[in-house]
Symmetry: C2
Subunit: 333 residues, 2 copies
DNA sequence: TTCATATATACTCATATTGAGCATATTTAT
DNA sequence: ATAAATATGCTCAATATGAGTATATATGAA
């Protein structure tokens, strides 16, 4: 986080992952989306666990030491990397989500912090419902679904649309980041979808599809494309972290040891993509025992100085993780 | 589920996973825990996605067609399989959780349905707090922690104990299945821990450790051991499904198309390992729009016949997934 | 010095949700 | 006819949540 911008660490191109220089050259020809998530090969001989491999790799490449680390998902679909179709190896990636305080990068030099919402412009509701949703996303998705010939399939997509993007009756669910991304991809509205169509055509020798101007323009408005399926991985991460925000104290790894409640709130808001009610947020974290006052106050700010708080680790052993999961141990007749 | 018993599908031994007959023979010598989760090698050439590989494999081996499927976790630690230390290949497993209605098994014949709580006797609180917790688990864990020499490490384990098994003040958290299992393993109280110690000694040529009688007896009371780290995988699954119970309608894949509310409640209770308040459960699922009445009634039962309900799919598009995740789309000043 | 503005903090109040129990309805077994 | 078992309906207190009002304490400009 810097100011109120949630950032992700990106590297410049995917080509590093490839084993041989020959493959690398081949990849660069296709790499019209040079922005990628940091990654590295897993070396079974060297790394005792997957997570240690991750730590080592990130430390070495970026100088960062990771705080909270959580395994996200393992991606193994064919054609995640179009080179596979041309006889390349099958790529299976184990994605991790890690939270770090932003620091200057000392790594190989191609790493960069980028605004998370550059990749998902429709996910940031802090300034209100993003206009692009009703201007482009909903109508174009609706059109795309309408022209599906198979009745069952059409109905299925209609339901997915309702679930992912909400309806009049149903609100927007901030955790369904992946569902939204996948719909946009399948509808061919996302940059990666256009790119992958080109690649498939090139490989199979068919003529390259020519998307019309509106399609291209929409794709550009729908954020920065990434290498391979990295944006899907990133969508998974955003959904996951949003899901955890409220019932596991994960955000504290993004804050200094002491902080004001407004700072804390801003981090939560940035990740959640929503504005929260300030007084209620205060009540929640204080009464919930998540933080405790230090007695010191912050001097930097404009108005009345805010008290500095710290995270209360004890909360971990005090209350069950899920605010509303299964009921606490109680036996009822 | 049969009656009120949640069941998992097991196969008879782990040896099938091995590539060559030679390795297989070697494995059988070590396989003193023949109960394993069903599994199979992933064949990149044949399987378009990991999940399709899973479906094919299970269908072919057991005749089951899977309903709800969810990726659990990818396990890649060294020495998940002790053979690795003797130069065997590194094993990385992608675990999946699938829900199916119990049907007769038509597969290779070694598959079997087993009570989930045979492997985690301390997780089933439906008949009250399991006695083993206070008779054996807590005191022996406490002893083990007390004899740790390093101060920081001891304190860390003490905190993990509080979080995993609760304290006077803090209730038992039904979702922390994995944390509990891992503590028991690290403390050497679980069958697999004893087995792995033997294997490590055999490989390194050291004399085999001789656990005392109490240790062996406790391990036996702590449930059936499984091959490799399969019980850890299973613990992950139980924790995951418990976490999802309350805010995603996953249980319906374990029920027939229509069911009584008590049937539904029994399934939730079996997985959660708790008894629930009947009237409140009814209120929850009806008012929550999860189910709708069919107008028909059940005739089998003893007392007043219960109405048959069905799952309301529409609920998926009506309300945000998380009962209490991030707030619904609302912008507040 | 004074006041407008910004921020922090405290408190109120209506509404919704949850935990627990009581009461009634409808069936089967004896 | 009655006891036992189960289903269903309703109440009530406690707690949590959403939204707002009120007060406190700082900065910066007039």
């Amino acid at each position: 986080m810097t100011d109120e911008v949630p950032r992700i660490l990106t590297v410049q191109r995917a080509a590093h992952s490839l084993a041989t220089p020959a493959q690398r050259g081949e990849a660069e020809a296709w790499a019209d989306s040079p922005v990628a998530l940091p990654f590295g090969p897993f070396d079974p001989a060297e790394h005792r666990t997957l997570e240690l491999g991750l730590h080592n790799w990130v430390e070495q490449q970026t100088g960062l030491s990771l705080g909270y680390v959580e395994q996200l998902y393992t991606f193994g679909d064919r054609h995640r990397d179009p080179r596979e179709q041309a006889g390349g190896p099958r790529l299976v990636s184990v994605g991790y989500l890690a939270l770090v305080r932003q620091v200057p990068l000392s790594g190989a030099g191609e790493a960069e912090w980028r605004n998370w919402y550059d990749f998902f412009p429709w996910e940031d509701w802090r300034e209100g419902r993003p206009a692009i949703i009703d201007q482009a996303i909903r109508p174009q998705l609706q059109n795309w679904i309408a022209q599906i010939s198979d009745q069952d399939e059409r109905q299925n997509y209609q339901e997915r649309l309702s679930i992912a993007f909400g309806t009049e009756a149903a609100p927007w669910d901030f955790e369904r980041v992946l569902e939204r991304y996948e719909l946009l991809y399948e509808a061919g509205m996302i940059g990666e979808a256009l790119r992958d169509a080109q690649i498939r055509a090139a490989i199979s020798g068919e003529p390259a599809p020519q998307p019309d101007a509106e399609t291209v323009e929409t794709a550009e408005r729908l954020g920065t494309p990434m290498a391979l399926d990295n944006r899907r991985v990133l969508a998974t991460a955003l959904g996951r972290i949003r899901g955890k925000l409220k019932y596991r104290p994960v955000v504290f790894d993004l804050l200094p040891p002491t902080f004001t409640l407004l700072q804390l709130q801003r981090v939560v808001e940035a990740l959640g993509g929503v504005r929260l009610h300030k007084q209620n947020f205060r009540r929640l974290v204080i009464n919930g025992g998540l933080v405790e006052p230090t007695g010191q106050r912050d001097s930097q700010s404009r108005g009345r100085p805010a008290e500095l708080f710290r995270f209360r680790r004890e909360v971990l052993s005090e209350r069950p993780a899920s605010g509303v999961g299964l009921p606490a141990a109680r036996i009822i007749g």
